[in-house]
Symmetry: C2
Subunit: 506 residues, 2 copies
Amino acid sequence: MRRWALTIALDPKHELPIFLQLANAIADDIRGGRLKAGEALPGTRELAERLSLNRNTVVAGYEELAAEGWVHTRVGGGTFVSPLAPSATHVAQPASDAPTYALSHSGHSPVHAIAPVKAPRPGSLMLGYSLPDTRLFPATELTRAFRRAIAQRGQSLIGYADPCGHHRLREQLANMLRSTRALPASADCLMVTRSLEQGIDLVARMLLSPGDVVAVEGFGYPPAWSVLRLAGSQLMPIPVDEDGLSVDALEDALTHQSIRAVFLTPHHQFPTTAVMSSARRAKLAALALAHRFAIIEDDYDHEFHYVGKPVLPIASGDGRANTIYIGSLSNLLAPGISTGFVLAPPTVFERLAALRAASDPRSDVAMECAIAELFEDGELLRHVRRMQRAYAARRDALADALRRHLGSALRFRIPDGGMGLWARADDAIDIERWSQEGEREGVQFFSATRYDFHQRVQPYLRLGFSFLNETELEEGVRRMARALARTDTRRSPKTSRPASSWHSPA
Amino acid sequence: MRRWALTIALDPKHELPIFLQLANAIADDIRGGRLKAGEALPGTRELAERLSLNRNTVVAGYEELAAEGWVHTRVGGGTFVSPLAPSATHVAQPASDAPTYALSHSGHSPVHAIAPVKAPRPGSLMLGYSLPDTRLFPATELTRAFRRAIAQRGQSLIGYADPCGHHRLREQLANMLRSTRALPASADCLMVTRSLEQGIDLVARMLLSPGDVVAVEGFGYPPAWSVLRLAGSQLMPIPVDEDGLSVDALEDALTHQSIRAVFLTPHHQFPTTAVMSSARRAKLAALALAHRFAIIEDDYDHEFHYVGKPVLPIASGDGRANTIYIGSLSNLLAPGISTGFVLAPPTVFERLAALRAASDPRSDVAMECAIAELFEDGELLRHVRRMQRAYAARRDALADALRRHLGSALRFRIPDGGMGLWARADDAIDIERWSQEGEREGVQFFSATRYDFHQRVQPYLRLGFSFLNETELEEGVRRMARALARTDTRRSPKTSRPASSWHSPA
């Protein structure tokens, strides 16, 4: 062991697994400057001996540190404190560097920008996310495909890339949308985007002028609200219920308010998981054509449907002329592989393509070809099926655990699809306090307040089941139950009245 | 050979190399439907025998087809017609799909959108591009790094990614900018962007409101003009000469016109390659602070400076408070690996970060970590040095060839850096006709008309030297000379009067 004086206290009885205790201790030493950037950590074998641990435990600890960016491994072997570990001090900008120019109003940071998704606290189980489990991510297949893409296609990296994405991937995505979603998809009218949000942004910039009104779901996806606001639009929340967006409420609004666009998630409404009824889809489509507004259909997790055939998108029905369809492969692969897409009728697509060509003309050719290859090899389809099986089982495991450990404290319906479960908490429960107690018990979950357009306190929870496996979900719910027991509830959950059909308050 | 009846005529005397003739013949068969999607091509050995060619020639032909997306190779081996070869027919959108809604004005396709960079015609030598030569691209190193990134950092793919980019890459870029460009760079104030253009777009959206005036270079980079226009700004061209942007002309303009920002490429002015003089930089900085406008400094190819030390960016001098500095690694790696960056003072950066977080919150974590690793290993720096040596040699080779083969037809100064050479053609020469004759001779080059803000006919050419090696440059210039001989020039180039110091007409 070189200059680093080892000061690690490990407690086998502690709730945190040893490898995480080890990782945290080393991270503390880096943060505290006891381990300097570039400094080598002891070899795993050496450290395992000194701490009389299993070597795999040390390896796991180092991997955790690497994943968190504290250390990195070098080709020659050896683990080193990353020169850019989170603690690294930054060159402060001199105060004299305040610019003398003013900024535009459109540049204001959007109201609804929510904190970026953070890593769960080490040792804590995250039920608050509806993120894919990257432990199921086909890393090897993608890496191989990427290597092949660069090897075979080095010349196309030269960058006479189509800003709308490499035609191989566009064709594969169009095929998928035609065959699995009955969409009138053609590669000519399909754009690969960097992210779902970039797709929304391009659509908003093409569609909206300052002051335009966009109808959104009363419970919804705040990041989408932020993007729509960037174009200077005013958002109008419309209530959602068990059949999705209330089209009647929208119709009422239309009597006294002209609306430029409706942004919604009809397939598995976010966050409520409600599947929009066919009747409502048809009526929405008719309204769009009659009142000349655009439907922005966000079908972010279409694949994850576990009951029979998924309902077909609005963009595949009579409303398709006015519908712009956006989606993403991020939930299928990994958020870090953020590949979204936008499908629009030709005249509209032309404008989108021009906007993209001007604002971000490059595309990640190598990655796009790698993903196209996953399609061509059938690997992506196999992956979809694996994920569907895994997530369906996790959905059932979560529902089962909630019933066993939380009794009547939560009422919910098992969703037909999606990556989360929407539950109504007994009125006697203070969800915020429950969530805080949860943090102490080592489980993270959030109330629906963050998904309410007006950010009002809500008796609802969204619990994600895709991020954790069955065992973790079971343990997570146990911890939720322990946390609930610690919150003094005026009435015992057991005696709560059954929750009736619910409505978002928007 | 399976169902495909071979009909390939190869002509050794033809100007096109055999492997390209082969690739074109097969591409024709795919285009003509004689080879169907998914159909297997004969093995390279088999085809080599049937055509009595060297097997490597066939392999090269197949690689060309793969690079152009006509075919792909499968894991098990074998080359197959890509299901999405360029010829693949598309599902036409029914005419009934015309939307009933109107689009916003801001969505208009920008005036200056120029045709996306296309692949050079096979067999033709491209002197019109200033693109990096991806044959020098460290594909193996990057692929390895990418594999390691995914292997080590799978968990960080989960996507609690910082929208401003992975901290490893931000730190490495900040280090580079501090050490090689004396910039007050801190990872906190540096954003990794998807492309140079995305950086400009974010800055423009933060800075500009419709009607704002932005000064640009009279000879310049049309894609940048397009992005700036997206924000609704009015562009005002300012002349450039051998010392870069004419700051005196800008000062005159400021007497009767308030300007919100100046966008310029001071290091190797695009397209003229002029290095902006220190005196002008200092004066521009003073004007910016006094007249409260922002300087958007585009330093797109800083590394490629071949004479002494590069001049330091405006953002590292007294004007830094009002300067937003943007750059890219695309010219260093490959346009397909489009990684740009923006550096701004803290108060400004905050707004940029909020815009990015809303409009495109994801980042390509795996690729960013792979590139960070190239920095950490020192591979990137080695690559920079290799490229500098290679491009300096190519610059000299091009200059030499031009002198030998084109005599006084072109007058130019050898640029201190950059990827292209700016030449004034003799007044007697019709450059457009010359360029057309060039196409027939198998060399592609463009007049400066496309870089003139008003797209007027100009007696200038920009010839790129980074894209081709010395031999290719020599041959390209030979073909230029043959093409020139075919254009009837009223006066012989030999007797042309010497071109004096030039000025852009903006």
